[in-house]
């Protein structure tokens, strides 16, 4: 299983081809009212980047523009030699299958079993008739069992997803994303529906698995402390713009005030 392979295969210097470059990304849901105001940022080819900022500031829009769940109004998203913003149809699906995504509400297919939810991560690769008849390639099935063990749900393969707790569901969500053999992991508020202890475990899992694959992870997160603890880089957003960008230890209270506004809540 390549997920556990050491990260030696990619020399640290060869980062450029694996990084994600966003240039002048703009999104207007209604004309003239941009939610993202020409955001430009480059995410390195490894490590976790946490995006913090108040609700409605465009974090979710930014992350969903990357895999085109939302179509940007203008701008470029360069990843692995392609401008994702320009892709359509089959090309877009081919690009998407290398980008794993973890959701706040887990977004599992609840009436399917855990193992089948994992195998859904292969839907971009597997012919439709195989998915329909549940005849997934043996290698995929084996990989799914390995990943289930890896996220600590080895005994739950045949349980229906709606029987799991929130934390367990999110583990399945992460495993599904890893089934894609992704080159990038996006996570949109992966811990917002979870208790504090589980939140830490989930962030740990994302950081650890992304580290093992040696791929970058971009995580939207409300909890600043969690972001500080697990991310290598913090991006602070406010009103559709990046207002802070740096390693966690440089994030000062004054930056938080610039990001979130207000005064009294910090004391």
């Amino acid at each position: 299983m390549d997920a556990s392979a050491p990260s030696l295969e990619t020399p640290a210097g060869n980062d450029a081809g694996r990084s994600l470059t966003i240039r002048n990304l703009r999104k207007e849901y209604s004309p003239g009212k941009p939610v993202l105001k020409d955001v430009s940022v480059t995410i390195a080819g490894r490590g976790m980047t946490a995006i913090i900022g108040p609700s409605g500031t465009g974090k979710s829009t930014l992350i969903r523009c990357i895999n085109r769940l939302i179509d940007p109004t203008s701008g470029e998203i360069i990843f692995r030699g392609q401008d994702l913003a320009k892709l359509r149809g089959k090309e877009l699906r081919r690009a998407r299958r290398r980008i794993g995504m973890v959701f706040q509400e887990y977004n599992l297919v609840e009436r399917l079993t855990v193992i089948e939810n994992l195998l859904c991560g292969r839907l971009g690769y597997v012919p439709v008739w195989r998915a329909w008849l549940r005849k997934f390639p043996a290698a995929d099935v084996d990989r799914a069992f390995h990943l289930l063990d890896a996220v600590g749900l080895g005994d739950f393969a045949n349980q229906r997803a709606d029987q799991l707790s929130g934390g367990q569901r999110q583990r399945v969500g992460i495993a599904r994303a890893l089934m894609q053999e992704p080159d990038l992991i996006l996570a949109d508020e992966p811990t917002s529906s979870l208790d504090p202890k589980t939140s830490v475990e989930i962030m740990e899992l994302i950081a650890q698995r992304a580290g093992e694959r040696d791929i970058p992870a971009v995580v939207n997160i409300h909890n600043v402390e969690l972001g500080r603890r697990f991310a290598d880089r913090i991006i602070g957003m406010s009103k559709g713009e990046i207002v802070f960008d740096g390693p966690p230890n440089t994030l000062q209270d004054s930056d938080l005030l610039a990001i979130y506004g207000g005064q009294g809540w910090l004391e």
């Binding site: 081919r94 690009a95 995504m101 959701f103 609840e110 399917l112 439709v128």
Partner: protein, 276 residues
């Protein structure tokens, strides 16, 4: 209320603020509506021409009818009614299967989260309304004219009339599917057909099965009378008995219909409580 003046926030000047549920205009409109409803009922009563002689006679006639049906001619069951009953069940079952097969693509056309085209949505809705608004008896008359009397005409009548009902509720079930899992499968890079099979179908399946079973239940009742216009099944046997004035045989058919309806009711509620 003697303590009213002591309530906090009470009026300083002593003037009590009043609360009224309706504005005066609303009250006039409501009174007008009730008057209109009363007039409508009176008008309707005048239109129904009640013939007093028949009305006085009704209890006597009812008793007489039942007396003529009794004793029920049970010997007619193996000769004619059993085959007719089987035909009715087959008409209802095949008709429902065909209806579901025909309704599924139309439902996909109507569901706005699947088909993003107002023209196609409207076209699908037109099919649903057109098939549903024509009663199955009407469809049976049509298909009897085309294919001749018999089970085929009855089956097609059941199938076509059911498209509207099945398709409407199926499209609503599709539209109620949670968008989250669909989004997740999109993000995985799944092609549209795979999203339909792995994202929508598991969510729609329980509603779909309940719907098909419910429609089957309705169709058994409907197919029992289609024979009156040549659609085959129990209705045909009832028609024969009635035109021969063999009331004991008609009684048998009515009894069989009654038993079948209760039996399917029990079967369908049991199945539905299992799958939902």
């Amino acid at each position: 209320m003697s303590a009213a003046g002591a309530l906090p926030g009470g009026p300083a000047g002593g003037e009590l603020r009043r609360w009224q549920r309706f504005t005066p205009l609303e009250r006039v409109a409501r009174t007008g509506f009730y008057l209109f409803a009363l007039l409508a009922v009176l008008w309707a009563l005048r239109t129904i021409e009640i013939i007093p002689e028949f009305l006085y006679d009704a209890p006597h006639q009812t008793v007489d009818l039942f007396a003529r049906m009794w004793p029920i001619d049970w010997s007619w069951y193996p000769k004619v009614v059993h085959a007719a009953l089987m035909e009715t069940l087959h008409i209802a079952t095949l008709g429902t299967i065909l209806a579901v097969a025909l309704a599924a693509p139309v439902a996909l056309l109507v569901a706005t989260n699947i088909t993003h085209s107002v023209i196609l949505n409207t076209f699908g809705k037109f099919i649903l309304v057109a098939t549903r608004s024509v009663h199955s008896i009407m469809w049976a008359l049509f298909f009897v004219a085309v294919f001749g009397p018999g089970a085929l005409a009855g089956m097609l009548a059941i199938a076509v009339h059911s498209i509207g009902f099945t398709g409407k509720f199926l499209s609503e079930a599709i539209e109620e599917a949670r968008p989250g899992p669909i989004e997740a499968l999109k993000a995985v890079g799944a092609p549209p057909l795979a999203i339909l099979i792995k994202g929508y179908w598991p969510q729609v399946k329980p509603a779909f099965l309940a719907l098909a079973i419910f429609r089957w239940d309705i169709n058994i009742r409907e197919s029992a009378v289609l024979g009156l216009v040549g659609g085959g099944g129990l209705g045909m046997a009832l028609d024969t008995a009635l035109s021969n004035l063999y009331w004991d045989q008609a009684g048998l058919v009515l009894f069989v219909i009654f038993v079948v309806v209760i039996a399917t009711e029990i079967v369908t509620t049991t199945i539905r409580s299992r799958i939902l």
